[in-house]
């Protein structure tokens, strides 16, 4: 096209030839026709006798019209008052209207009301500077808002100022942005999650992992094989990606399985593995999400604790055995001591004289006291040792009848009255309930005031399966200072004279109540009697 100069890509100048070579002109003419034919030329400028003349080619408008009609973006042409002169179908469909209904409407009708001012500024800028652009919200017919970008271009055609607006729907872009943001967030979550998260594909290759997972094994690259990075074993068997994937494919997610993992530096980590299959929307197995929790420290602490507990149990059992043997075996020589002291009194008493007989009498008494002490101590040890039978069931009313029988003589001596409300059936061994109530009733009879003893035994429901029982008396009472002490072993509040005892009875009571998960306490006022309160489990009906 040597004789035509391109004019804005599509306009061609024709220069006059002083002496045209016919052949060359023919070729030029053919080229020009060809260009017009291909739509490369919209207009031809011919230098004629009256100066350059522009010949536009009507056919060249056609591709633009088609473009405008078919293009993805919406486009409208407004007059300088904002009245819509033309809308392509895309804009009309964007606002949910027919193109002919758009034409003739004020463009602001299709805008969110609050955007009217902004649009006015854009119009002003376009009329003034030829171009402006900004983001607005269209309001489609059903009322929903559509975010769009508008580009306004001033068209000054033959002195008439029109504005052409290109309208791009931003929804998809915003959606993509949202997806991107979400994607970034999930990457951040994965990076910063405290858990070791590893995603493997169906071939057992690591495709994603959290930073913590890297830290667990001292760093690894993506696309390494799971089995190479995490040489796990479970109960001595290798626990590999294949097992995880097989379980996942079978619909059996792995939850908190104990595994161990050796490290290069000979350390071993204890881990919990959880794994879930990762399905695509089309229900294809994409792989597995594997979560590894490092429980090495916890496990170590647990082991230390278990070891301590075992040691404690052993030493406890040793102590109990010792106490049992001591109290049991000590009784034998003591018993003999008592009997032989008596034998001395009987056989050679006359040779001992009055003082000698008296002294041997002290020895006999001491031996008897110590024997009683050891017997009580033995009872205390056995209160903890007797088998705890879950099915134990004892009617407290029956036990009370027995105890009243046991104390018959003492009751008659003291003129005591025992008033007993309805009592429950308790999930307690009979031997324990007898021991407990016998100690409490015995104390009430023993620590009596000048009045005949009046003893109340009552029961009421407590929390859950528990019953609260009370044994109250009108005896001498206990000073507040001593109330916390009385359940201790060998705690005696009275000198040997007036009230005899080993100081073990209430310790036995507490031990029995505790072994059934109950509590025991005392309320008392000096000189006004005491009330012992304790809880025990009721037998299930």
């Amino acid at each position: 096209m040597s004789d035509f100069n391109n004019f804005s890509r599509s306009t061609v100048f024709s220069r006059p030839e002083p002496e045209p070579d016919l052949l060359a002109r023919l070729a030029q003419a053919e080229e020009t026709i060809q260009a017009i034919h291909h739509g490369e030329v919209d207009a031809v400028v011919v230098n004629g006798p009256r100066g350059p003349q522009v010949y536009t080619l009507e056919g060249a408008d056609h591709p633009y019209r088609v473009l405008v009609e078919k293009m993805h973006e919406g486009t409208v042409t407004l007059n300088d008052h904002g009245l819509t002169l033309y809308s392509n179908p895309q804009f009309a469909s964007l606002v949910g209207a027919e193109p002919h209904a758009v034409t003739g409407s004020q463009f602001t009708c299709f805008l969110q009301e609050s955007d009217a001012n902004m649009f006015a500024s854009l119009m002003e800028a376009a009329i003034g500077r030829g171009h402006s652009s900004g983001n607005l919200n269209l309001r489609e017919q059903r009322g929903s808002l559509i975010p769009v970008r508008v580009s306004l271009t001033l068209l000054d055609i033959a002195g008439i100022k029109n504005i052409s607006i290109l309208v791009s729907d931003l929804r998809e872009q915003q959606r993509n942005e949202a997806i991107l943001r979400e994607e970034k967030l999930s990457r951040l979550i994965l990076d910063q999650a405290g858990e070791c998260i590893v995603v493997i594909d169906p071939q057992g290759t690591i495709v994603r992992r959290s930073e913590s997972a890297k830290a667990l094994v001292g760093g690894f690259m993506l696309l390494e094989r799971f089995d190479d990075v995490f040489p796990l074993t479970s109960a001595g068997e290798p626990f590999n990606a294949n097992r995880i994937l097989t379980a996942a494919a079978a619909g059996k997610p792995i939850r908190g399985l104990d595994v161990t993992m050796p490290h290069a530096d000979r350390r071993t980590s204890a881990l919990l593995v959880s794994a879930r299959p990762l399905w695509s929307e089309a229900s294809e197995l994409l792989g597995c999400v594997v979560v590894l929790t490092d429980i090495t420290e916890r496990k170590r602490a647990e082991e230390a604790l278990a070891q301590q507990a075992a040691e404690l149990a052993r030493s406890n059992s040793d102590l109990r055995q010792f106490a049992y043997s001591a109290s049991h075996d000590l009784r034998e020589p003591l018993r003999q001591l008592a009997v032989f002291s008596e034998l001395i009194q009987q056989r050679v008493g006359d040779r001992l004289g009055e003082e000698g007989t008296h002294l041997v009498g002290y020895a006999v008494n001491s031996a008897h006291r110590m024997e009683k002490l050891l017997a009580d101590l033995l009872a205390y040890i056995q209160a903890a040792d007797a088998p705890q039978d879950a099915a134990a069931s004892t009617d407290a009313n029956e036990v009370m009848k027995k105890i009243v029988g046991t104390f018959q003589e003492r009751i008659a001596e003291t003129g005591a009255r025992i008033q007993c409300g309805p009592l429950p059936v308790l999930a307690v061994h009979e031997v324990h309930l007898v021991q407990l109530l016998q100690n409490l009733i015995g104390n009430a009879l023993k620590y009596k005031s000048d009045q005949p003893p009046l003893i109340h035994v009552e029961a009421e429901r407590a929390a859950g399966e528990m019953w609260r029982l009370s044994v109250s008396d009108n005896g001498i009472g206990i000073k507040p200072d001593y109330q916390a002490l009385i359940f201790g072993l060998f705690q005696r509040l009275h000198g040997g004279g007036k009230y005899s005892g080993s100081g073990i009875g209430l310790a036995i009571c507490q031990k029995i109540v505790h072994r059934y998960g109950g509590t025991i306490s005392v309320k008392s006022e000096l000189g006004r009697g005491s009330t012992f309160l304790f809880t025990l489990p009721g037998a299930s009906a």
Partner: protein, 143 residues
């Protein structure tokens, strides 16, 4: 049960010389003629029973006083051996123990004891053992 031709033949299985002394005293207090042989452990007791079981065996046993908790052989083994000797099948056995637990008492009767005597810590109570021996050897009416 009475040995018509002479004193009561008693066997005591007891490792404590002090208790053996007291047992002897309690029986003596009853004023009955008796011979008391003391085995200090289960092994010796079994040897004595073996001799009883032989054809040249000495005169039959009137009563066995058995502390269940003796060295070398458990008292129960001694009791079982006694029950296997035909002519001793009806010999009364007094189980002597320092335990007063109902479980031990029950077990003694299950094993075939005739009486259960808990070693007491008062002389008067210990002397009751003599009365038990008299009752078992002489029959209730003679007590």
């Amino acid at each position: 049960m009475r040995n018509e031709s002479g004193p009561l033949k008693l066997l005591l299985v007891e490792d404590s010389p002090a208790d053996a002394y007291l047992v002897r005293e309690a029986i003596r207090a009853e004023g009955l003629p008796f011979e008391l042989q003391v085995a200090e452990d289960g092994e010796i007791a079994l040897e004595i029973l073996d001799q009883l079981d032989s054809p040249s065996g000495s005169a039959a046993l009137s009563l066995l006083l058995l502390d269940i908790n003796v060295p070398r052989q458990d008292g129960t083994v001694v009791l079982e051996r006694l029950r296997r000797i035909e002519r001793c099948a009806g010999v009364p056995v007094v189980m002597i123990s320092s335990s007063d637990s109902p479980g031990d008492r029950e077990r003694a009767f299950e094993l075939g004891a005739t009486e259960y005597f808990r070693k007491p810590s008062s002389l008067a109570e210990f002397m009751q053992l003599g009365k038990i021996v008299r009752r078992l050897c002489m029959g209730a009416t003679a007590a």
